[in-house]
Amino acid sequence: MADTVPDEVHVTGTLVWYYHVCPREAWLMSRQLTPDEEDDNIRIGRLIHEESYVRFAREVTTAAGKMDRLVRRDGQWVVYEVKKSSRHEVSARMQLLYYLLQLHEDGVEAVGELHFPEERRVVRVTLGPSEMCEIQNTVKEIQTLMSQPLPPPPKRIPVCRQCAYAEFCWA
């Protein structure tokens, strides 16, 4: 699959997600400065990931990252993104749009579905001209951020309260 970004700043779907939740988190993640692994929320997320939709085929790995699931349904490719809650729905939508953009650039037209198993809710996401523009701009922003020698300074936002990076950021 064609890589649309230079190797040194490899944007992945998860990075798009982090970027929208917290740019600082995305920068740290891109340097493999992973967060506190003992954090309960991280453990829960990992469990949901491992236990949801196990009946179906597992994730698909591409240059754009790991898609939770890619299936052909009613003559159309559908990308799944599974999340613990819809709390960061905007971020999840951007992550999914990024996968759709990658597929599009490889000549595969697909639609996306955000799945919130705990809420029994599915949100459909499509890549139209305005979404295309939106996600392309985001990718540029992320590349600029990643090329910075320092992470953006910590900023107190609601997610800090349960973020696994909090002790790192505020130490």
Binding site: L33, T34, E37, P151, A166, E167, F168, W170, A171
Partner: protein
């Protein structure tokens, strides 16, 4: 989920039973739920096989083992899981560049001195005569920043500590725990035995926390590195010795929790016996779980977490994001 430290004092065999641990002694068997174990301290004579070691590595649990006298012998440090190439390079870069290395080493010495001073201040407030050592420490602290050589820094650190030890006999009224100079390998008095044992508990605890970060424990800044031994934990431990180890020692002696029966004479030294180590470890474990408020974070964290945050501060210093300012106890 709260992870625990497991302390084994008895002799026996550690086994893997399905997906958990199992400790068997002549007295009985005990299952140990592995997912809650962060580290194991072995004080007794324990046999185990590679199946157990493999399992512990998989579970990312460290094993610290001590010899018969309670001397720290070594650590089974599992393969690193949390690795950032970027961080390792920065850690080495700050080691290789003398001025950057000294800048960090100075902060460890300053942080340690500040906390030693805090402990003495506390006892001064309680009417103990610690004025001379306190004056000495206060006069030495400003000079730390003028030393640009790691050996000199180690020396000044030694001087500060020596002044600090002068205060011990004013702090401790129990004659059994008289301080007559620091002796190691072997410790020659009960108080020395306590300091040595407490310090090894701290070194290993810091090591366990380093394992949970991106830092490499072999690259320290104050203590000489030969890239084979762990030294970063020794550096960071300096900050916490006064407020964790020494405070526990003072409070235990003060409350009469330690007696002659907790010590043994052996191999030309004096050591804590199992009962003594057990008593200390109990206080130690409780202290690490005790929480204090961290203003910047907006929540309280345990002393163990405070050690982790100290490592995070160091990471941020290495990233050149924020200059490392050592933890200073406020009481």
């Amino acid at each position: 989920m709260v992870e625990k430290s497991l302390y084994i004092f008895s002799n026996g065999e550690l086994k893997r039973k399905d997906n958990t641990l199992f400790f068997e002694t002549t007295e009985g068997k005990k299952f140990i739920p592995i997912t809650t174990v962060r580290e194991i301290f072995l004080f007794g004579e324990v046999t185990f096989n590679s199946k157990v070691l493999d399992f512990l590595s998989q579970q990312q649990a460290l094993v610290h083992y001590f010899n018969h006298y309670g001397y720290y012998s070594g650590t089974m440090y599992p393969r690193e899981r949390i690795v950032s190439g970027d961080m390792i390079l920065r850690q080495a870069e700050h080691y290789l560049d003398t001025s950057r290395r000294v800048a960090i080493a100075q902060r460890f010495v300053q942080g340690a001195a500040q906390n030693l001073r805090r402990v003495l201040k506390y006892y001064q407030g309680r009417g103990r005569d610690v004025e001379n050592p306190l004056d000495k420490i206060e006069s030495l602290i400003p000079s730390v920043s003028s030393y640009d050589d790691v050996n000199q820094l180690m020396a000044i650190e030694g001087n500060i500590r020596e002044a600090y030890y002068q205060a011990f006999n004013s702090i401790l009224s129990n004659a059994y725990f008289r301080f007559e100079g620091r002796t190691k390998r072997p410790p020659k008095s009960p108080l020395n035995a306590l300091i040595s044992f407490g310090n090894s508990m701290l070194y290993t605890t810091v090591l366990s926390e380093i394992y949970k970060t991106h830092l490499d424990p072999r690259i320290g800044y104050l203590h000489a590195t030969n890239f084979r031994r762990f030294t970063l934990n020794l550096d960071v431990a300096e900050i916490f010795k006064p407020i964790l180890v020494d405070r526990i020692i003072f409070s235990m002696i003060d409350k009469g929790m330690l007696k002659a029966s907790h010590f043994v004479k052996a191999s030309e030294g004096i050591f804590l016996n199992d009962a003594g180590r057990g008593a200390f470890v109990k206080q130690w474990d409780e202290r690490l779980q005790q929480t204090i408020q961290v203003r910047e974070l907006g929540r309280s964290v345990s002393y163990r977490r405070l050690i982790r945050m100290e490592l995070y501060k160091l990471e941020k210093h290495l990233l050149e994001e924020k200059v490392y300012v050592p933890f200073a106890a406020r009481w």
